[in-house]
């Protein structure tokens, strides 16, 4: 997950020692013009690309080879101008200074909207090439652009590209690297005379008079108008099915139905696919309708268990090594969900239970992302999000958080104000369960029936709303409103989908597997050295009195700091009542975010807001845990 997990680390590097980053080619352009796909095509580096503005919030570095020489290429987040209004755009603008050459990616279907940035970039006096991307889509929409004329008008090479299929990419690289490192041919103004660059202040300079600025802007816009009318011809084209769907999905009534439909079906699909991959059963609730001889559970039972039983006999049950590798035998047998050895539960939890859900969640999310539905969903949720002091677009980081909190918290960079970022990130880290956690909750609580499972989800959702409401009234700062560009619907590209799935699933395995192992190692060491008895004694007042959990539940709570899925798994052998299980799952979901999220939370929010978020978390977990415990007691 180059672009999702590492960029902050790299950012740090660029901020400190900016000259160390070799940056031969930088991709710059508005959000959602296909920079990441183009970057993938140029460098072969896999990226996460979607069909909504703001997919890339950090930058990714790659290399491209041209005439036996290696050049570094950097994919930057989208920006509308060189005066960034959000954090992600700021990352891009900071990179421009470092770049030796710029590829300005523009959307051929909406040329007039992109040229303002192009002209701003020309004023930077760097070698530059314009990539006229999505030129196939432009043709379908009856838009014809004369690249040659545009190139003459701008004074830089213009190359038509289709990043999705790779058309024009080679020519683009050639054009970018062909000309020597000097300024482009002088920009020609309207009259055709080689003239000066319209001066556009790079940073908001107070001394620049407002009137003057306004004048410059008007001039630029009229130039853009002139260029566009010169190079672009619009042909009449028929209304497509996609456009019909676009109309329906923003319709006040039909669009609402569509949103509800999409949400419900997405959750249902995640569950159906996930359960099928685990147990081979096809169905939604309760007993599956058909069970096929398939699934990770069966694989572990048939292929792994006999091997592990042999190892168990070899090691002798009472030995330390047996405890570490195999764990505790349940009725003389290995139980993958209860034994808790490194080679039993340590492999079964991440690979047997969580991986199938990671796969199914990201499959559904990726499809939603690539079609372009997410911004439309954001519009419909805008009103609700306002109650929480947010606007509709905050749903995108939140949905990403349902997969993994780390990219979720990072994606808050697409929000404009610090206050919104704080609220969204805090909500994600407390009340948005990641896919790994959900897989375990579904596995464990789902066994007690659909009711308890829905109750856990319901409590988390209510908590999410409540914290949002409270934070809205207790935080100060600017709350901007929703203002987003709605991309057209696009057919997901199979290749892009595969690459994104690979990054996310492999990212999970690479990041999670070692931590799961460490967590299980810790569990066993704690048990062997009886450390937990000490801690349990200290924390008993809260854990047993307020939350109604057995003393031993403190161990999963502590392990939850490392991995949430392992922690929920540890509730399995405790023989909890259904209501203890509900309380336990809710508390575990909210109590301290896992280490990875913790680090990202502080990195994104900085120390003060990070500490505030943790404070909110502690108050929430004690309050909600206690309330749920007493309410459930009251009810039953």
């Amino acid at each position: 997950m180059q672009s999702k997990l590492n960029p902050m680390r790299e950012n740090y590097r660029i901020n400190k020692k900016s000259n160390h980053l070799a940056l031969d080619i930088l991709l710059v352009g508005h959000p959602n013009v296909g920079k990441s796909v183009l970057f993938s095509r140029m460098t072969g580096v896999r990226t996460v690309a979607s069909n909504y503005p703001g997919t890339t919030v950090g930058y990714t570095t790659g290399r491209t080879c041209f005439e036996d020489q290696n050049y570094s290429v950097v994919d930057a987040p989208g920006t509308y101008s060189l005066e960034p209004l959000d954090e992600a755009a700021g990352v891009a603008v900071n990179l421009i200074d470092e770049a030796k050459r710029i590829i300005n990616v523009v959307d051929a279907t909406h040329l007039e909207r992109h040229l303002a940035l192009t002209i701003e970039l020309l004023a930077q006096d760097k070698p530059m090439v314009v990539a006229l991307n999505m030129s196939d889509e432009a043709r379908h929409r009856g838009i014809e652009i004369d690249g040659k004329k545009l190139s003459e008008r701008l004074g830089v090479p213009v190359i038509s590209t289709v990043a999705r299929s790779g058309v024009g990419v080679k020519r683009l690289i050639q054009a970018a690297l062909a000309f020597p490192l000097k300024s482009p041919v002088a920009y020609q103004d309207q009259t055709g005379h080689p003239g000066h660059h319209p001066h556009i202040p790079r940073h908001s300079q107070k001394e620049v008079q407002h009137d003057h600025r306004h004048l410059v802007e008007e001039e630029v816009w009229s130039q853009i108008g002139a260029i566009v009318s010169d190079v672009q011809t619009l042909h009449h084209h028929r209304h497509t099915l996609g456009e019909l769907l676009e109309d329906i999905s923003v319709h006040p009534i039909w669009g609402g139905f569509a949103a509800a439909f999409v949400i419900i079906f997405s959750f249902a699909f995640v569950r159906i696919i996930g359960e099928f991959l685990i147990g081979g059963g096809i169905g939604i609730f309760g007993e599956p309708w058909i069970v096929l001889p398939f699934g990770t559970e069966r694989l572990f039972d048939v292929a792994w268990k006999p091997l592990m039983m042999k190892l168990s006999n070899l090691l002798q049950e009472a030995s330390f090594l047996h405890q570490l590798l195999i764990g505790t035998l349940i009725n003389g047998e290995i139980d993958f969900s209860q034994s808790f050895g490194l080679l039993t539960s340590g492999l079964f939890i991440p690979l047997g239970v969580v991986l199938p859900y990671i796969f199914s969640f990201y499959l559904v999310l990726s499809l939603l992302e690539d079609t372009g539905y997410l911004p439309r969903l954001a519009i419909f949720l805008d009103n609700v999000m306002h109650w929480l002091g947010l606007h509709g677009y905050a749903i995108i980081p939140t949905l990403l958080g349902l997969g993994c909190n780390v990219p979720g918290v990072m994606a808050t960079r697409i929000l404009e104000s610090r206050r919104q970022r704080f609220i969204t990130a805090t909500l994600i880290s407390i009340a948005v369960p990641c896919a790994a956690l959900q897989a375990m909750i579904i596995g464990l609580v789902g066994k007690r029936g659909i009711g308890p499972m829905l109750l856990v989800y319901g409590i988390l959702f209510l908590t999410w709303m409540m914290i949002g409401l409270v934070l809205r009234y207790t935080t100060r700062g600017f709350l901007p409103e929703l203002l987003i560009e709605i991309p057209p619907y696009r057919t997901p590209s199979f290749l892009a989908l595969c690459s994104k799935m690979w990054i996310r699933v492999w990212g999970f395995l690479r990041e999670a597997l070692p931590v799961v192992m460490v967590a299980i190692l810790f569990v066993n060491l704690l048990y062997v050295f009886k450390v937990f008895e000490q801690i349990a004694y200290l924390t008993a007042p809260v854990v047993t009195r307020l939350w109604g959990l057995p003393e031993e539940a403190i161990v999963p709570l502590l392990i939850g700091i490392l991995r949430k899925d392992v922690a929920i798994g540890m509730l399995a052998p405790l023989e909890l009542t259904t209501h203890q299980l509900i309380t336990g799952s809710v508390i575990l979901a909210m109590f301290f975010p896992c280490t990875a999220t913790f680090v990202i939370l502080f990195r994104e929010l900085k120390l003060r807001d990070g500490l505030k978020a943790i404070g909110v978390m502690l108050i929430t977990v004690i309050f909600v845990g206690t309330t749920v415990n007493f309410l459930l007691d009251f009810k039953f």
Binding site: W221, L483, I486
Partner: protein, 80 residues
């Protein structure tokens, strides 16, 4: 020619932006998406009575939050 607020337009109605009453940041954000005085827009739909207004500007769909939309004055041709 009648002047209205963006929120008051009916669906499919076309109008031209006259003034935007907002601070520097709001103006800048709108400008990024091509929403500036003098630009022609067409209202496509509105989600709920208080929801964002969806407009077509420069052939692209943009969703504008309700509060922002109510500070954008437009002029409409003919009666309507």
């Amino acid at each position: 020619m009648t002047e209205k607020l963006l929120t008051e337009l009916s669906s499919d109605q076309e109008a031209e932006i006259v003034t935007i009453d907002g601070g520097w940041i709001m103006q800048a954000r709108l400008k990024e998406l091509g929403i500036v005085a003098g630009r022609k827009v067409k209202k496509i739909s509105r989600v709920g009575a208080m929801g964002p207004v969806i407009i077509l500007v420069n052939r692209a769909q943009v969703a504008v939050g309700a509060g922002m939309a109510s500070r954008i004055a437009v002029k409409v041709k003919s009666n309507a």
